[in-house]
Point group: C2
């Protein structure tokens, strides 16, 4: 690996001082044309590229945002990253993604710090409420915006879909189709979003005069294994549900797979509704009814909030909520009389 060319080398080659070289490179005024030309020539010849690390260590802005992601590709996360990226680029900021299962992992702390120091601001996507790094960011009043976080009050700006309303809408859609035994499959508790969705679901049921039934609540943890197990448990009930609401689309797909394997038809025997409206949702057979997050608005809002903090130097800790949208496809239908 060839060693990088430094400005000093360029200066030497051009026969000027380090400082003059610096001015020439940055197209600063106060440089004679002849000096500028000689430096430029030397820089080109030596393939000089400024050391951005050094600049950054002086505190110069990097025009760079960092995104922390728990698992990229996890459905809606990918979409958010895309939209954030678009908006950031539009505003002439670059983007670096740091993906980690758990940011508070000891070995990962260094990288977190590194990225913090490197970037002008940070976006945390679906952060885990147990992540110790959140407290650090909160304490430092960092330039940081949380996206998709609903676990607790926190001294950092948050942008999030109205999970509670969305849960209510999902349940109301099923109630309107005549369903009375509606199951809910929870995701993990990481971001608190699943719990909020569950609260909305429970509220809608209560409003319809339906008593909560703990047997109809399954624990899916957002992963296929436990989701399949939860589905089978629901099917094994004396009075199984006629509809299943899943805290995200991935689990809904798993549920549909399990049902198909058991010869249960969707939506004829059981209706299934998901959450997020990932790309796959429109490709499955039958198409998945789900709640779409306005991920574009959420992403744009998060970027703007962050840039406002960066530009103004003022810390804010607002909370912006965006309305979801029901997308009806073929996986939900009228409740069959039993």
């Amino acid at each position: 690996m060839r060693k990088a060319v430094t400005l000093q080398q360029v200066a030497d080659a051009a026969g000027v001082s380090l400082n003059t070289a610096s001015r020439a490179i940055r197209a600063d005024r106060y440089v004679s044309e002849s000096a500028r030309a000689r430096v430029q020539e030397a820089a080109d010849r030596l393939h000089y590229r400024p050391n951005v690390l050094a600049r950054r260590m002086r505190g110069d802005p990097a025009r760079l945002l960092g995104i922390f992601v728990n698992a990229i590709g996890w459905g809606v996360v990918h979409e958010l990253v895309d939209h954030i990226s678009d908006e950031a680029r539009r505003l002439d900021f670059d983007l670096v993604v740091f993906s980690a299962e758990n940011f508070h992992d000891r070995r990962r702390v260094g990288t977190s710090d590194l990225l913090c120091g490197l970037c002008d601001g940070l976006l945390m996507l679906l952060p885990n409420q147990d992540d110790g790094f959140l407290e650090v960011l909160e304490r430092d009043r960092s330039n940081c915006v949380l996206v998709g976080f609903a676990a607790r009050e926190i001294g950092l700006p948050v942008v999030v879909v109205d999970n509670r309303a969305a849960g209510r809408m999902a349940a109301e859609h099923l109630l309107a189709l005549g369903h009375r035994r509606i199951a809910f499959i929870q995701g993990s508790r990481a971001t608190g979003q699943s719990s909020e969705r569950e609260r909305g679901y429970a509220a809608a049921l209560a409003a319809a005069g339906i008593a909560p039934d703990p047997a109809l609540i399954g624990a899916g943890h957002f992963d296929p294994g436990s989701t399949a197990a939860a589905t089978l448990a629901l099917l094994a009930l004396a009075r199984p549900p006629t509809a299943i609401f899943c805290a995200n689309d991935g689990m809904a797909l798993t549920v549909m797979e399990v049902l198909r394997g058991r010869g249960v038809r969707v939506p004829d025997d059981v209706s299934v509704i998901g959450f997020d409206d990932i790309a796959l949702a429109s490709y499955t057979q039958p198409g998945l009814t789900t709640l779409r997050q306005p991920s574009r608005e959420i992403a744009v809002s998060a970027v703007h909030t962050l840039l406002r903090m960066i530009d103004s130097g003022q810390f804010e800790s607002t909370r912006r909520t965006y309305p979801p949208e029901l997308v009806v496809r073929q996986s939900t239908g009228p409740a069959r009389a039993r």
Copy 2:
């Protein structure tokens, strides 16, 4: 945004010199127990966290790898990122992802440099052959491995699936099913992989005594719009193809959509075969026959090559090729007599 605590502040608070504080923090020997304890206490109290940027600027290793990605989520890219991430973490390296449409974009050069300087090594996923940054990496003999690059000889290590063999396998599968008029829909020329797949396809046809027909080659550019147009053009031919081989799965899905819209049945009327075996491929109706890349092996190999270069300081520029695997699903079937 609170200012970061520096080691100097910790040292002052603990009543020792900067250097002793440094030793204590790094658990260096040659520190008295009492000093160590006082420094530790001060550091905790002030919430000191070392500035990784500063360490890095001295040349200390970061145990950090960088991935450059053209568009994350683009099918196989996501899978590669996942596997690379797993392997890197297993070897106690962290990972930073930099996503850019074109790395040679003027405004992006700074970020590229930054990441280069930051990371111990770099992985370029499906780099664009026109990317000027490749020449820089090549010239500097950088710690950098290219994944999924088949455009040209290059003075950097490359790990890639055997695209030519894969193209041949796809065509041979269709030939074995009795197809004679087999179309190919090209992707973009960015990485050179599509061209290699096409060469394999052409070779298989030639071996079967079939003369190449330019009308059967469509330009899909890996995007839905042009792929749909190419498909319609194929359908409009006097003698349309009975099978279509697409340079990736995404385009194959688009082709299937278009065919469905036109009332053309898959595989009864036309067989379709893709490339990559993305997750969606097994969810479509009918399931998509495709060629799977051994993305896990490719990822692991890339990481190992990179770490070898980092550890040894020795530059290498080997080229490792991995065999593809034919995955037969329902989108390909016997050619219908016409």
